[in-house]
Structures are given as C-alpha cells and as structure tokens.
C-alpha cells in the first residue's frame, strides 16, 4: 500500500470574531495527500471560514495549521502553495483568459515561453482550447468556472481549495462539472478541499466528508459512512431524508421507538436513551397486521422514481419511499429490517413534542390549553378579532403552523394524580443515575418522555407528567 502522509493538519482551530461570534470552534482535521475532502454543512456552519483560514485570508484566533508538518498559520496567502477556486470565480475583468491564467506564473517570474505552454496545456485540461485571447465577459458561467479552475491548477498547488465552485451553475451544468472535477482530481493527483452545502454533491465527489454545523465538526468519514452510519441526529437529518425518533433500548438488540419494538443490530446497553434513524427507502409498508406498528397513510406524493408515503402512527409520522402507491386513509403495517435501523446513543434527552393550535388560537396539548398566549411564541405576531397576524401583517393559518415544545428531563415532575398532569402514561423504564432516577414514561399518546426525578417510582406505575410552561422552549415550524 502507498505510504500516506498528512499534507495538511488543522489543530484546535477556533475563529472568533470581534463581536464574539464564534464561526469555527476547536476544529481538528487531517487531510492525506491526494485526498478529495469535502466540507459539508448548511450556510453559516463555518465551512467557508475554515477554507479561508487554510487559504490564508483569515487568521484563526486559536489553533495551528500545519502544511507537510510545518506551521503555516500566519503565512500570508501569497506564500502558501495553495490555490483557491472562488465561489463567484473572481476572474480579473481587465485581463483576457491568457493573462488571467498566467497571473500566478508571472508572479513566480516564469519565462514567457514556459507560460505559453502551461496555459495551453491547462486550457486543454478544462476543454477550452484556443480561448486564450477571449475576454472574460464573452464566457458563459460554466466556461468562467473552467477558467477559474485553470487559473488555480496551472500553478501546480499542493492543495486546491474550492469554495462552492458550482453554486452559480444550473443543475445540468453542475452535474457535468461534478464529474469533470472528479476526473481532474484523479488526473492531477492534487489534494482537493471542497466546500459545499449540497449533500448530493458531497456524496458523489468526495473521498472523505466533513459534516459541519454551528462551527463544529459533526462527523468525518467516507460518503458511505456518513450516509449509513450518521453520528448524530443532525448528520442524519442533513444527509438525505431521514425518519428520526427518540427511543430507548428495551433489551439486547431491541429498541423501542415510534410506538413499537424493533429488532436492531447495534448493541447498545438496555435502558439507554437512543435516537433511531431510519431512511425512508428502508421503511417497508405491509398489510396492517404484518408490520411492527400500525398506521394510516396521510399523504402520497409521486416523485418520479418512487412514491413518498407519509404514515401516521399514533403521534408519530413516518415517511416511506416505495415504488408502489398507497391510498390516503389506508391502514398499513410498518416494518424496518434490523440492518436498516441506525441507533445512536442520545446525548441530549430533551423531550420534544408537538402542540396544536385550537380554534381559539390557544396552544393545546393532549386536550389541555397551555397557559401561554401564542403571540408571545410567534415573534412579532398579534391577535385581532380572534385571528392571528404575523409581523408582516398577514393572517396566520393555524393549520399551517406547527409548534414544537422542548423540555428538559429535570424540568418535568411526576405525580400520582394522573389528571393533574399534562399527559399520562406508565413508567416503562428506569435507571438509577447516581443521584437521581431517569425514567422513561410511555404516554397514552404513544410517546416516550424522559424524566429525571429524585424519588423512586416503580415500573409500570401510572403517572401524570407535570410540565411547567415557563420551562418549555417553543419552536415554530411552518
């Protein structure tokens, strides 16, 4: 096997701006020579900032960047053997294509006859032979992108940085360029660091994907790893469509979530709170009595290659993909093969549940009206003549809005008096956590709540859950 060395290493990189905003925090990464690494994440996740620190445009507030083992953290961009392909190309408008591509070589005082040869060769690489004399504004977006790539690779950098280079192209062009870039990467053998928010692009092109969110690395791995074994709920949600459920391990290789017990292949200790991820294509719909859980089809959308079928089971929603259609209102059984259930240990046990808005524009859960006006939940909204209006002044349709409530386990209290609780259920699991017990209450609405309580209750005790409104955190989803 080929000896692989780290071409670039990022150690504890942190970037905090003057206003205290932390764009990247404690970011660690090792990239091997010749790898195609992609930073993937939603906008504002710090991926571009990280790239800019590698390029030298931004300096990290903490941490170190090593190139071939030598620190380059403070080296100005012109001294780094790294070149960048910019998001909006950044071609010099006052130079023709030849001059644009020759720019880097001229800085190195390359003799003109060498420049001519190199420019010709790199233009062949990007399929723009004979374009030397053309001016930039006669080129299409795709062609400009090729020139930008040529201008960077002609300098034979050790690392090529690409900042969402295909973002401005249309879908067809983007697909073409993805394959071409991949080819180019093989041909040139240069290390590529690629930034994108497009998960499909990342999965198609990369050897290694770094998933980022809120300035932190969420997961690093091959596209297969990231897709099949997401490290947490964020990654699962961001990469592809996913059904994500909170649940609990009920035995060896057995997990309960979504109101049913499923066999799984991840060996997690019994009683552990988990997050279960199931890809829609792995959800198998069957006759009502043949599945693990029962549900009713609530919507069917034709997607060309398949149908996207949403099934409601109790308070849970399961999205399935199937080549067979189903009828809305049909009773179905839902089953998932053990291989296709991905179990993650839930670090965060915060309970999340959905509340409804009733006719009087009050927040309601399980038939109880919560003592908090909607206007204080939906920012900038106001109530007039029994209707809700948003900040822009248009009426809010209560059916189109979903309010999620999250509450931490330690903020819920258990009570004997079931009717006093906001929701009722039985204790389905308990673990002693040293100074308190962690209970799982399976409610009558088929949801599992995690409650921390210092008093001992018994398994199968019927309890009510007291949830103070002031401890609830509300998020509005449209």
């Amino acid at each position: 096997m080929e000896h692989m060395t780290n071409i670039i290493e990022l150690k504890h990189i942190t970037k905090t701006y003057e206003d205290g905003f932390s764009a990247v925090s404690d970011f660690n990464l090792e990239v091997k020579k010749g790898e195609f690494v992609t930073f993937l994440g939603p906008s504002g996740c710090g991926k571009t900032t990280t790239l800019r620190m590698i390029a030298g445009f931004d300096l990290p507030t903490e941490g170190e960047i090593l190139l071939n083992g030598k620190p380059i953290t403070e080296l100005p961009p012109n001294k780094r053997p790294i070149n960048t392909v910019f998001q909006r190309y950044a071609l010099f408008p006052h130079m023709n294509i030849y001059e644009n591509i020759a720019f880097g070589l001229r800085q190195k005082r390359t003799p003109e006859n060498v420049i001519v040869k190199k420019v010709k060769k790199v233009l062949e690489l990007v399929d723009l032979e004979g374009f030397e004399k053309r001016s930039i504004d006669t080129l299409s977006g795709g062609q400009q992108q090729r020139v930008a790539i040529a201008r960077a690779v002609v300098n034979e950098p050790q690392i090529l940085l690409l900042d969402e280079p295909l973002g401005a192209l249309d879908l067809k062009m983007r697909k073409e360029m993805q394959l071409e870039l991949k080819e180019m990467h093989k041909e040139l053998g240069i290390t590529f660091i690629y930034v994108t928010h497009d998960q499909e692009e990342a999965l198609t092109m990369s050897d290694k994907i770094v998933v980022m969110a809120e300035g932190k690395m969420q997961q690093i791995g091959t596209p297969e790893d990231i897709y099949n074994e997401p490290a947490n709920a964020f990654v699962a949600d961001f990469i592809g469509d996913s059904n994500i459920f909170n649940g609990i391990m009920t035995g060896k290789l057995k997990a309960r979530f979504c109101g049913g017990e499923f066999a799984c292949v991840d060996d997690v200790e019994e009683g552990t709170h988990i997050t279960a991820v199931v890809r829609p294509e792995d959800v198998i719909l069957s006759a009502p009595d043949k599945g693990r859980i029962r549900g009713i089809v609530s919507s069917v959308i034709f997607k060309g290659m398949h149908y996207e079928i949403t099934v409601e089971s109790g308070k849970n929603e399961i999205v399935a993909q199937s080549v067979h259609s189903a009828a809305v209102g049909q009773h179905v059984g839902v089953h998932v093969d053990p291989d296709n259930i991905h179990i993650m240990i839930a670090e965060d046990h915060t309970n999340i549940f959905a509340a409804e808005i009733n006719k009087n524009n009050e927040l309601e859960y399980n038939g109880t009206v919560l003592d908090i006006p909607l206007t204080s939940i939906i920012k900038g909204s106001r109530e007039e003549d029994g209707s809700l209006f948003d900040a822009a002044g248009s009426e809010i349709d209560r059916k189109k809005i979903r309010i999620k409530i999250s509450i931490r386990p330690q903020d819920i209290e258990l009570t004997d008096d079931q009717e006093e609780g906001l929701v009722q259920g039985y204790i389905s699991n308990l673990i002693y956590k040293g100074d308190h017990y962690s209970y799982v209450i399976h409610t009558d609405l088929e949801q599992d709540f995690v409650v921390d309580d210092e008093y001992l209750w018994n398994m199968d005790d019927q309890v009510g859950l007291l949830m103070p409104v002031e401890k609830m955190v509300f998020t509005v989803k449209k």
Partner: protein, 264 residues
C-alpha cells in the same frame, strides 16, 4: 373616443423643447459664429487665426500647464485619500467622505477668498507665485471632483479579486498594481475629465488670486467683451472639441472595464 390625448410620450416634450432651445440652438449659433466673419460670410480665418496668433497659442499652453499640474496635484492627493477611505473598515466612513465633499457646498468664491488671505499671509504678496497660487486654488476647488469617482470605483471593486491575486502569489503591492490600480482607471479618468477641462477655463480663480495671465476662459471672455463673437465662438468650439475627444477616449477604456463605477 380618446378622452385623453395625453400619452407617455408627451412627457418628453418639455425636455425636447429645452434641448432644442438651450442646447441645440446655442450650439448652432456657436458653430455659425465660429465659421463666419463680421459680414456673415463663411471663413476659416477664426480657426487659422487662433493657431497662428502667438498670444492665443501661449494662452492655450499656459491653460494646459495650469490644468495639467492641477489635475496631477488633485490625482496625487485624491487617489491615496480615496483608496484609504474605500478600503478602510471604519464605521464612520460615509461621514469622512462627506467631509471631503462638503467644501463643494460652500460657495467657492468664499473659499477662494479665504485661501487668498492665507496665501497672502504666507507669501507676503500674491504676486510672487501666481502659477503656484492658481494651481493651489484650483486643486482646492476641484479636489472633491477627483476623490468622489475614484472612491466610488474602488469601493465597488470586488474584494474577491484582490484575494484571488494574493492567492495566486501576488504580494500586497503587486495585487494593488495589477488589480486595484487598473480596475480603478475608469474612476481616475472620470476624475481627470472633471478636473482638467474646468481647470482650463475657470478664470475666476485666477482673477480672485490676482493672476493676470490669460487662460482659455479669460480669453473667450475678452473676445466677447470686445464684441468679437466670431473669435470667441471658435475658441469655445475648440474647447468643446477637446471635451468630445477626451470623452470618446474615456469611453473606449471604460468599455474594456465594464465593472467600473465611474460617475461620468
């Protein structure tokens, strides 16, 4: 039935009238006077006269000299100022830009009078350095016209271009010389055209600073004062020709730099 005969086109009538009455007609009159003599006959004598008379040619050279030096001084002062302003991250940037422009809002004869007093105090008498004083007065007067277009072009410059230059191995100076400077050229040209041509004709500054040498503006004035409409018109026409030539040249450069955000 068309109750309203008023169409959108009618809105252009006042402008068309204005154009005909105050632009086209005077221009035609100017051309007519420039190429006729006192008897109303066609002649090129006004033209040849201008280029053969050592006095008028001397005035042309002196005007050129004043204008060139003034433009040079303005450019040297304005470019760094505009560059620093445009590239700084100051929050109060617009306020500082305003400070540079504010003199334009104060009556210029007041400003020149103030300058005159200062110069008299410094030099003893204004008579010792008429050329220098004129250049100072004009530079003071025209500086904002140079700063503003340069500031605009540099502010509009895409920062990614500079980053690209740095990324491709250019140091800060190289990046400035190869990217910022050529791309701010439209602003420079715009500024030059707004300073150079007025500087050739603005004889009020000379008058106020007791510089009795003629420049083009004073020359035209003197012809008209002596009721020589024909000679004066020819000089005015020649200056107009220079403006057209300059604008034409600037256009060519600006077309190459479509990104430029110059004022003209």
């Amino acid at each position: 039935m068309h109750r309203y005969m008023f169409s959108r086109k009618s809105l252009g009538i006042p402008y068309a009238l204005f154009l005909v009455l105050f632009v086209m007609a005077p221009l035609l009159v100017l051309v007519y006077f420039a190429f006729t003599n006192g008897q109303g006959e066609f002649t090129l004598q006004n033209l040849t006269g201008f280029f053969t008379d050592p006095n008028t040619l001397g005035t042309l050279c002196y005007s050129f000299g004043i204008a060139a030096v003034t433009t040079g001084v303005c450019l040297l002062l304005a470019y760094p100022a505009a560059y620093i302003l445009a590239t700084s991250r100051l929050k109060a940037k617009s306020v500082i830009v305003l400070l540079f422009i504010m003199p334009m809002w104060i009556n210029f004869s007041l400003r020149i009078t103030a300058l005159k007093e200062i110069l008299t105090w410094l030099e003893g008498s204004l008579a010792y350095h008429p050329f220098l004083n004129t250049v100072l007065g004009m530079s003071y007067d025209f500086l904002p016209f140079m700063i503003l277009p340069i500031y605009t072009t540099i502010s509009k410059l895409d920062g990614a271009l500079l980053e690209a230059a740095r990324d491709l191995g250019a140091g800060e100076l190289q990046a400035f010389l190869k990217v910022t400077l050529p791309l701010s050229l439209p602003g420079i040209l715009s500024g030059v055209s707004m300073v150079f041509l007025p500087a050739m004709t603005n004889y009020v500054v000379l008058d106020m600073l007791y510089n009795s040498t003629y420049i083009m503006g004073s020359l035209i004035g003197s012809y008209f004062a002596a009721y020589n409409w024909h000679g004066g018109s020819m000089i005015a026409l020649l200056l107009l020709g220079i403006v057209c030539l300059f604008t034409f040249m600037t256009r060519g450069i600006e077309e190459e730099n479509t990104r430029g955000g110059a004022l003209l």
